[in-house]
Amino acid sequence: MKNNRMKDKERSRWKEFRDRLTPDPMFHETEVQTNRLGALMLLCSGVILVVILILTATGVFPLSGNLMYSTTIQAIVEILILLLICRITKNDAWWLKPLLLIGLVIVYARLDSMLTHKAAILMVIPVVFSSRYFSRRLTVFTSVLSTVVFAISAYWGATHGLINLNIVTFPEGTQMIATGGFLGDAIINAGASDRMLIFNTMLYDFLPRWMMFSIISIISCNIARRGRDMVVSQHEKDVKSARIESELNLASGIQADMLPNIFPAFPDRTEFDIYAAMDPAKEVGGDFYDFFLIDDDHLCMVMADVSGKGVPAALFMMASKIILANNAMMGKSPAEILTDTNAAICSNNREEMFVTVWLGILEISTGKLIAANAGHEYPVLKDPDGSFELVKDKHGFVIGGMDGVRYKEYELTMKPGSKLFLYTDGVPEATNARNEQFGAERMVDALNLDGDASPDQILKNVRRTVDDFVKDAEQFDDLTMLCLEYKK
C-alpha cells in the first residue's frame, strides 16, 4: 500500500516535471527551431574539434599529447550521440532542450579544460543559446549549470590544460633557465606547484571570467523573457485576426443571404425573367440589389451603392435595404419611398454615410415602369427591336446626404421583349493595369454583344468583358448587376 502511494507520488512528480518542460503549443514551433539551432551548433563544434584534432596530430598545436586526444575524442563522441538523438527525434521531443543544454555545457567545458584562458568565451555560448528558448527559467538553469561545470573544468584545466603564464607565481629568488621551446613547458618542468596553479587560476582567471559571464547571463535572461512576451503577443494577435477573418466570412455569408439569390426567382411567373449577381471586392461590400413582389401585379427592383467599402458599408447597406423594402411594401410610389427612406436615414446618421439608389416598380400587367433615382448610375434599357441604351434619367441627391430632399419619379414603358439592366459604378469604373476605366460605352457594347440572350447570359457577357478588360489588375470595387426581361 505504502509502496504504491510512494510510486504514485513519484509518478505525479514526474508528470509535473514533464509538464513543466513541455512547451505551450504556441511555443512548440520556436522550440523545435531552437533544437535545430542547437544541433547545428553541435555540428559546427564537432567540425572544429576534428580540425583541432588534425592540427594537434600534425604538431601545429603545441598541446600535451595523449590527454588532448582523449578529451577531444570524448567530446566528438558526445556530439555524435547528441546529433543522433536530434536526428531520431527530428528535433522534436520535450526532453530534448535540457539534454541539449546539458550536452553543450559539458562539451564546451571539456574544451575549456584544455584551452583554458585561450577560449574563455566558450563559457557564455550555452547561456546565450538558451535564451533562444524564450524561457527565463531555462536560462537561469543553464547559467547555474555553466557556473558549476566550468568551475570544475577551470579547476581541472589549471593543471592539465594550457597554462596562463600571466598568473604563474614562483617564490622570491627563483631562477629559471629555458633551453628553447614553449615557455609553458619550461614552467611545468621547473616544477610549479599544482596548488599555486589551481589557486591562481580560480582567482585570476575564473573569477573575472565568471563576473563577465554573470552579466551576459542577465542579458540572456532578459532576452528570453522579452522573446517570450513577443511570442505571446504575436499569438494573441494571430488569434484575434483569425477570429476577425472568420467573422468577416460569416458576415459576408449573411450579407449574401440577405439578397434574393436563388434563380429562377419566380419560377411560376412567365411574364418576366429576372437575374442578378453581386461580387464584392472585399469580404463584405456596400453594393446591393433587391427585387420582390409588392403584390401580384407589382415588382419592385432596387440597385444601390453605399459610400465606402468593408464592414461600415455593409452595416449601412443592411439598414438601407430593410428601410427601402419596408417603405416599398407599404405601397408607396418610388419617389415617396426614396423621400421617406432619406428622412429615416438622415434622422440618425452621424457618420455621414450615404447610399445611391435606383428604385423602380414595374406594373406587370401593363409594362409600366415607374422609377426614381437618388444619385445612382443611369439605367440601361433595350426595346424589343432596338439595342441597349443608357436612359439619362433625372437624378436626385444621394440618400442619407441631406435631410429634407424630395425625389421625383419618371415613367418608362417596357414592351414584351424589353430588357432593363441595372448596375453599380463598379462596372463602368472597373480599372485595368494601365489605369483605364471600363466606362459606360464598353458596358453598353458588352450588353449588345447578344442583346437577345437571357438575363442570366447577358450578365455573364458583361462579366466576361469586364474580366477581359481588367485582366490581372485587382478588383477594386464591388461588381453588382441586375437584368430584367419583360416577356408578356
Partner: protein, 98 residues
Amino acid sequence: MTIQKTKNGSELIIAPEGRLDTMTAPELEAELKASLDGVTALTIDLTELEYLSSAGLRVLLSAQKTMNNQGEMKVTGVNETIMEIFEVTGFSDILTIE
C-alpha cells in the same frame, strides 16, 4: 494621393492630387477636420484629381456641411469625368461648382 494646402487668413485652399477613394479619403477627411477651424472660405481645387469615388464624395459632403455652419465652400477645377459623377449623384445641386 497628396494634398496641397494653402492658407491665407480665414481662407483655405485644399487641392487633393491623384486618386480620392476608399483608401485615401480618410487622409483628406483628417486633413479637413484638422484645418477647418476658423475658416470662412474653403476652396477645394480638384484640378489635379484623377479619380473620385463615393468615399471621396462623402468627405466633400461632410466638408460642405461643416462649411454651411461657418462660411462658404466652393469646388473648382472640376474636369468632365468628375462633373459627370457630381451630376449623376446629385452633388452638383449641393456643391458650389466653379
